[in-house]
Symmetry: C2
Subunit: 178 residues, 2 copies
DNA sequence: ATCGATGCAAACGATTTGCAAACGT
DNA sequence: ACGTTTGCAAATCGTTTGCATCGAT
């Protein structure tokens, strides 16, 4: 998995079956409501997407989906992910030009990102205090906040050369930037 | 201009001539140091860029520059802005796919963004308290923070239909998202 | 005179779309 | 059967680059 602990663990409740812990159900009801169809390639893509709790690129998603359904094309992945976004299940993150990653948004609270410049690993965290402050700041400008993006770029212990320091990314063994 | 007030005005000091208040000087010395040349189209582009204290798209920058130098091409704008980035004068912000804006990075502190979903207007703000909290959060994960990106998406007063509410973007008359 | 800079147009990578065939309802 | 979805390839968008010419030092 590409991501790690939360500062303030919130969803300590049951992870499946609950009202917001069932993205697959949301997906199905979204399709039904819209009169759309459940195809095998869509299922393959959605399953691959949901299996990954971190961030995915569309190429990764394509190969994942192809393990179940070798016939899927890249265009279908784009189309399906767009549906997932409209359904509120997926959220796009634009980390740079041509570097768009997607993540599961359903049932998850606002969360922020810590990104290691050296190894590219991404940690998620939450902070209610920060949320409060940013809402206050927005209010001062007459805004109400619907979504937000908060990314901190820096170096993990390991990358800073701290003896015994470990990069959480290496501990998890994933997503090391070239 | 596309951006507005700061929550905590910091650079109240002299805006020109100081060690970090002279981006044009930085630019010239950067060119000299690298053995690059000062051309009229570069000057036109850099001047247009510095005249705008907020965010610019490259198309906007092109037309601005063309008012001084009708012969400039889009490729030159790209090349010049890349130089500005290398010189540390410009910073790119990727707000979405195909929506890259540039801003002056020289002499400016970390700042966050408030973005109206309805009209696309972007306000900047700063909050030392948020900075403190995010540094603390990073520290808890063994990170030190070098840069960060903090964007709040929501609706301005006008867009929420508040009587008498004004969208700062419309007040400034710029950058209304389609 | 030399070497970098320019403009144009072609190249490029990521994303979208037109279309006939295939599939789910 | 009907209308949606698919895969492919072509189209499109933003961005980059090759190349012959132009301009600054």
């Amino acid at each position: 998995m590409a991501t790690a602990s939360s500062l303030t663990p919130k969803n300590a409740g049951p992870g499946r079956g609950g009202p917001r812990g069932d993205p697959k159900g949301h997906w199905r009801s979204y399709l039904a409501r819209k009169g759309l169809k459940t195809t095998q390639q869509r299922e393959a893509i959605v399953d691959a997407f949901l299996r990954i709790s971190g961030h995915v690129g569309l190429e990764d998603l394509l190969s994942s989906a192809r393990r179940k359904y070798p016939r899927v094309g890249l265009a279908t992945v784009y189309r399906t992910v767009k549906l997932l976004e409209e359904a509120g299940i997926a959220a796009a993150r634009h980390f740079g030009p041509g570097q768009t990653l997607y993540e599961v948004s359903e049932g998850r609270a606002h969360h922020d990102h810590l990104i290691c410049d050296a190894c590219g690993f991404i940690i998620e965290f939450e902070s209610n205090e920060i949320e409060k402050l940013q809402d206050a700041a927005a209010k001062r400008h007459g805004f109400n906040v619907l979504r937000h993006r908060h990314e901190l770029f820096g170096l993990c212990e390991k990358s800073r050369g701290i003896p015994g320091g470990v990069c959480p990314g290496e501990a998890a063994g994933r997503r090391v930037r070239s």
